[in-house]
């Protein structure tokens, strides 16, 4: 089998997808694991890392709400922001239930699409 046959093999795109989808997270996962293994359980590093990861996750939420992709981009900015805020308020006011907060957020978002 020549090189051109190999490159044209229909499975190659899947192989490339697996390698390049898998490797970037794999490297950092294992690096993180081996780094964490060497630390004492009450190391300050864990608190700092938790801060970094939490900021990142909160920033992802803002990004998803302010620059949405696909169908969510058809909803008005006000509808998206109102959805998140009302979801958080519902969570805080009514028994601290995440499921209830998500339902209220979705209801407000969808209502804004009808209005």
């Amino acid at each position: 089998m020549g090189l051109s046959d190999w490159i044209n093999d229909p499975f190659i795109p899947y192989l490339v997808l697996i390698i390049f989808g898998f490797l970037p997270t794999e490297i950092w996962r294992l690096a993180g694991l081996f780094f964490a293994r060497r630390l004492s359980i009450d190391s300050e590093v864990f608190i700092w890392v938790r801060c970094v990861a939490t900021v990142l996750l909160a920033a992802v939420v803002t990004k998803l709400v302010l620059s949405p992709v696909g169908a969510l981009a058809t909803v008005s900015l006000i509808g998206r922001i109102a959805g998140i805020i009302s979801g958080v308020l519902a969570y805080l006011i009514f028994r601290r239930s995440i499921a209830l907060g998500v339902i209220v957020a979705e209801t407000v978002l969808m209502t804004s699409m009808i209005l």
């Binding site: 950092w28 996962r29 294992l30 993180g32 694991l33 780094f35 964490a36 293994r37 359980i41 009450d42 590093v45 864990f46 608190i47 700092w48 890392v49 938790r50 801060c51 970094v52 990861a53 939490t54 900021v55 990142l56 996750l57 909160a58 920033a59 992802v60 939420v61 803002t62 990004k63 998803l64 709400v65 302010l66 620059s67 949405p68 992709v69 696909g70 169908a71 969510l72 058809t74 909803v75 998206r80 959805g83 998140i84 979801g87 958080v88 969570y91 601290r96 995440i98 907060g101 998500v102 957020a105 979705e106 978002l109 969808m110 699409m113």
Partner: protein, 151 residues
Amino acid sequence: MTIAIMPLLRTPRRSLLVEVLSAHLVAVTVWTECLRRLPKFPENERLPYFLGFGFACIILSTASTLLGYFVIDHMNVFIAAGMLFLTPAFFILSVSAGAKSLSDWCAIAIGLGFQPLSEKLLGPEIDLLAIGLLGGSCAYVIHRMYLRGLS
């Protein structure tokens, strides 16, 4: 995220194989929910719960992805927008539910509030990385200063 969850999964018999397996189950939902739930459990029940929860999430999300692939073309925009909105709505509630210290609340506020500035200054590729490192360090410093003020 892998580093932050590891102290909760440490057992007296530290098996490398189990830790490598655990590291592969870390994703946002598993991470936020386990950071919140595991501290309430006895230490020997944390790892089994994490593995069960992690595999349940992977199986469900893989099945949902497959289902989504087939139904996306037939889905109206109303439902599709609602589905996409589940991600930010759940993330913010889950991470807020797990916040237990001043550093957590500072981190949430900084991430929510300063992402637009970070994206404006640095562009949409490295904005998250930059705000994570910089904002996370700020949240940590505020946490330290607060503790010093108490003592």
